[in-house]
Amino acid sequence: MRRLLTAVAVALFAASAQAAPDKLECLAPAKPGGGFDLTCQLLRLSLQNAKLVPQPVAVTYMEGGVGAVAYNHVIGSRPADPGLVVAASSGSALLLAQKKFGVHDENAVRWLAALGADFGVLAVSGDSPFKSLKELGAAFKENPAAFPIGGGGAVGSQDWMKAAIFAKSLGVDPKTLRYAALEGGGAVLTALQGGHIKIGSGDAAEMGALHKAGKIRVLAVMSEQRLPGDLAEVPTAREQGLDLVWTIWRGFYMGPKVSEADYQWWVELLTKLVATPEFEAERKARGLFPYTKIGAEFDRQVKADVARFRELAKEAGLL
C-alpha cells in the first residue's frame, strides 16, 4: 500500500512539473550484453529501485554500425519521441568526429546526460619486466617496433586512440604503431599472456579485475585522479610525467525534435536519480566511476569532445 501511495505521489509530483511520457524506452544500439546494454540497464534498474517514476523503462536493442543505425533511425523515424533515450558513449563521439555515422553530425540529436564513466588504461602482462609507465615509455621510444600494441577495436577506435596519444606524447608517429585490432578486452588479455602483443590498451573496469588477479599489470590509469577500487595503487599517467587522459563516458541522447519541456522532464528526473543511493549502488555494480553531466553542460561536453577527437584524428592521418 505504501508503495502504491509513493507511486501515486511520485506520479502526481511528476505531473505537476511536466507530464511524464506514457512509455519510457532505452534503446541500446547494439546486441544485448555490451556497454550500451549496460548503460540502459543502469538507467532501468536504478530508476526501478529508486522508484522515481511509476512506469518501467523498457530496454530495446538495435544493432548496427556501432550505433550508426540507431542514430539514423532515431533522427529519421522517431525524432520527437518524448519517452525514448538512446545509449551512447565517448566512442559514439569518436565515430561522429570521423564522420562514421553517415550524413548526420553531432548536432543532429539532443544530448541528454552522462551518468558514469570508465577510464583508459595501459597494461603489460603480469610477468613483464616493466613496472612503471616511465620505464615502458623510455624503452618504447627507443624501439617502438619491439612493442606491438593490442586493443579491442580497429584503427581509429578508442583503444587505438589511447595507444596513439601515448605514442605521440613520446614523439613517436602514431602511423608507425604496430597495432593489432583484437576482438574485445578478453582477447587483449590472452594476447598479452601469450606474448603476442607487448602492450594492451583497454578500460579500467575490465582490466582492473585482471590486474588484481595478477594476470596483467596496469601501468597507468588515464584519468585525472587515481581511481578507487582494484586500481587504487596504480598511478595516473600524469603522475608519471605523461599527460594522457582518456575518459569513456556513458550516457544518452534523445531525438532532435523532442520538445524543450520533455527534455527538461528528463533532465530533472536524472538530476534527482543520480543523488539517490540506489543509483550509486547500481553504478558501482556496473564498474562505472562517478561522472555526471546532465543537460546543457553535457551537450557542451559532447561537442567539445567531438571537436577534440576530430583534431586528433586529423593529426593521426585518419581524416
Binding site: P148, G153, E183, A187, Q193, G287
Partner: protein
Amino acid sequence: MSLDYLWTGFAVALQWHNLLFGLFGCFLGTVVGALPAIGPINGIALLLPLLYTLGVPPESTMIVLAGIYYGAEYGGRISSILLNVPGDAGAVMTALDGYPMAREGRAAEALALSGIASFIGGLVSVVALTFFGPLFGQLAVGFGPAEYFVLMVFAFATLTSMVGDQPIKTLIAATLGLVLATVGLDPTSGAYRFTFGEPELHDGIEFIILVIGLFSVSEVLMLLERQYAGRLTLLSVGRGLPSLATVRSCIGAMLRGAGIGFVIGVLPGTGASVASAVSYTTEKRISDRNGTFGKGDPRGLAAPEAANNAAAGGAFVPMLTLGVPGSGTTAVMLGALLLYNIQPGPQLFSERPEIAGGLIASMYIGNLLLLILNLPLVQLFVRMILLPNWILLPGVLALAFLAVYSAYASTLSIVITLSIGVFGYVLRKLGFDLAPLILGFVLGKVAETNLRNALAISGGELGIFFSSPIAIVLWLLAAVVVVLPLVLRRRGVLS
C-alpha cells in the same frame, strides 16, 4: 587434478529446483534453436535480466542459461533437417546431408540420429571440460593472430575435400563467400568497405541473413519451380528410428566431430559454425569414399551435429578458466557472472565450486534431459513436414522474413535476404554447391583479421607465421590434408 568441485556441483545441480531450472532452460533452448534467426543469445538476453531481478541465485541462473545454450545446439538441427533453414548458426552444415535425408523420406531417422550425435558431442565435451578444462585454457593462450591465421589456412585446406567433380565451381563459390565477407567495417583499419553510405551495411552482411537467403529463400524458389513443373513428389516419413547398423556406422564420425568441435570451441573467436564446418569437411575427407556426402549420408549429418554441440561445451573452457568468452553467447554469460560479482578464472573451481561444479554437473544432467526431450518429441516435429506445400512454402518464407525482421528491424535486411535468395537460386540452377560459399564467408572474416593483425605485429615480416610450434604443426596438418589424398589416389587406395 582434484574433482571435488564436481561432487559439490552434482549436489547443487541435483537439487529439485535446479533440476527444474535445467529442464526449463533445455526446453527453451530447443525452441529458440529450432526457430531460425533466433539463437541462444536472444534467449539468454531475454531471461538474464528477469532471473537477476527475481533474485534467482547465480548457480541456478547459470544452469538455466547453459541449458538454453546447449539446448539451442540441439534445436538448431530440427529446422535444418526439415526445412533446409538452419535454426542457428551452428546448424548450417547439418542441413547439407540432413535435408536430403528428409527428402528421401528419412526425416524421422535423421532427427533421431542427429539427436544422438548431439548427445555424443555434448557428452564428450562435458567430459573433456571436466578433466582437461584448465589444460585447454592454456592452449588457447598460445594462439595469437599468426596461429589463428594458420588455423584458418588449415580449415581452407580441408575445403579441398569439397572440390568434387567441379573444382572451378567450388573455388568460385568459396571466393564469392570471401568477397561477401569483406562487406562492412574493415576490422583493422576501421574503414567502411562496400557500404554505399548505408549505415545498415556497416557491420557487413549478417551471417543469419546470408544463410536464410541462400538456403531457405532459394529453396522455396526451387520447390515452387518443381511444383509448377509438376515434378514435386510428396515426402514420406519413413521409419521412426535409425537402425543400429546406421548408428554404429556413424559412431566414428560422431567422435571425430566431437573432438574437433571441442578443440575449436575452446579457441576464442571461433564458434559452433566454424566447428561444424571444419568437422564436416574433415569427415568428408575421411569417409566419403563413394561421393554420398551432400546427398543424404548419415555420417555427413552426424559429424557436424556432434561438433556444434561439442563446441558449445568447449566455449565454456576459456570463459570459466580465463574469463575470456569463446563465443558471443558465452560472452553474455560472462556478463552474467560479472553481474553477480563473480570473477571467472582458474580460482573459480576452488573458490566457488558450487558455480563451476554446478554448471558442469548440470551439463551432464542437461544433455541426458535433452536426449530424452529430443527422441520422443521427434514424432511431433516430423508432422511439420507433412504440411502441404501451399501452407509450407509461404510459411517458410514468412518465418524467414519474420526472423530477419525481428532480429534486425530493418526493411533493407529483408531486401538483402530476398536478393541473396534469388542469387542463391541462380547459383543452384547453374550447378554450384552453396556449402563452399558459406565456408568462405565464415572462415574469411577470421582469416583476414588475423592475417592483418599478425602482419601489423610483425611489421610486415612473414616469418611470424612460422615462428611458433603451434603454427608449424598446423602448417604440417594443412599440407597433409592437401597432399595425402593425392598420393593415396595415385596409389589407387582412394578411387
